[in-house]
């Protein structure tokens, strides 16, 4: 019975682990007034218990040639699994948002470039693990060179 129980738990974890990702959107997607002025909103998918997901990240920037990193301001709302990112990084320079999350034993990541008109959906990258430093740097460099705007 114990072995069956362990097998069942492992199977459950596998279910939880599969397909854990982020989806990003404009504040309107959140349908919450508090998120109207967010830089963008995002939600987790494939997480059985979204309320228990561990979410965070940093804003990575290049300001006048100096590399900067700012801990992200992420807020939740009434809907489990829906989050808002508020701009707490300087307006000056080029910035990408590096999102990270874990749900049970699964991880997800996203790198979201921020342009003059807001987040750049088309250039955003999504991973089933946190983005590597190299991936973040590549995105930032591309943005700084005007590749994403």
């Amino acid at each position: 019975m114990l072995r069956l129980g362990l097998a069942a738990s492992a199977a459950a974890l596998l279910v939880v682990a599969e397909g854990f990702t982020f989806t990003i959107g404009s504040p309107v997607a959140s349908q919450e007034f508090q998120m109207k002025s967010a830089a963008f909103v995002f939600r987790t998918e494939g997480c059985v218990e979204p309320a228990k997901a561990q979410i965070g990240g940093t804003a990575e920037g290049l300001v006048k040639g100096t590399r900067r990193s700012v801990v992200l301001k992420v807020a939740t709302g009434a809907r489990p699994g829906v989050y808002a990112v508020y701009q707490n990084w300087p307006a000056e320079g080029d910035w990408v948002v590096n999102l990270k999350g874990t749900c049970a034993n699964a991880s997800a990541g996203a790198v979201v470039p921020i342009g003059p008109k807001g987040f750049i959906r088309e250039s955003s990258k999504f991973y089933s693990r946190p983005a590597t430093d190299a991936e973040v740097e590549t995105s930032l460099k591309t943005l700084a060179q005007g590749g994403n705007k």
Partner: protein
């Protein structure tokens, strides 16, 4: 920014957390001050959020004050929030806000009570059992108990009744209640003492 520290922004309580930490949740009552500020800035949805935070307490106090009269409770609730909306610009902080909000509630309840016909005296031996409109109790015995208590509260003199309900539904200090009720803290204490004592006397058999 200190990782792990809390900050208010745009009506949210936000945790400056290391990347592996949990994020803050928006529904904490501690965000009132920021929501109030957002209301003062003209955010309609902030007003709706403020309404959502306080509506049940305001409605509950009104409902039990008016002997379960849902129409009266709805009228008072609507009146209070409309008045709140037109006057919110006068407020500077959350502590002052709740005092003012509940003063509106008290005034509305007491004014309406004065305009209504006196409620029929509910004798100690014939306490009415009216149904809880949104009762959460699962057990019949608990429902009966709550019905009796409701009737007992309804039978209290209005000044004791409103003090008892305010104390129960809101975590207010006596100092705040004194401001809300427009009396001294000693009077608040006296009304609560006498109100609860009368209730216990009338419902003597209930909890023995």
């Amino acid at each position: 920014m200190i990782p792990g520290s809390w900050e208010m922004e745009n009506g949210r309580k936000i945790l400056h957390a290391p990347s592996h930490s949990l994020v803050a949740h928006l529904s904490d009552r501690e965000i009132n001050a920021a929501i109030i500020e957002a209301c003062r800035q003209g955010d309609r949805d902030a007003f709706r959020a403020l309404y959502d935070i306080y509506k049940d307490q305001v409605y509950s106090i009104s409902l039990y004050f008016f002997h379960g009269d849902q129409a009266a409770a709805s009228d008072v609730t609507q009146h209070v929030f409309l008045k709140l909306m037109t006057g919110i610009g006068r407020f500077r902080g959350d502590a002052e806000f709740s005092t003012w909000l509940y003063r509106l509630v008290v005034n509305a309840c007491m004014d309406a009570a004065r305009r209504r016909k006196p409620a029929a005296e509910i004798s100690d031996r014939h306490l009415e059992m009216f149904a809880a409109p949104d009762s959460q109790e699962e057990a019949y015995a608990r429902r009966q108990m709550a019905s009796s208590v409701r009737a007992g509260v309804s039978a209290l003199p209005p000044k004791f009744r409103i003090a008892v309900l305010l104390r129960h539904f809101e975590d207010l200090s006596y100092e705040q209640m004194a401001k809300i009720l427009g009396c001294s803290m000693g009077t608040v204490a006296s009304r609560l003492s006498r109100g609860h004592k009368i209730l216990a006397e009338r419902l003597k058999g209930l909890m023995e």
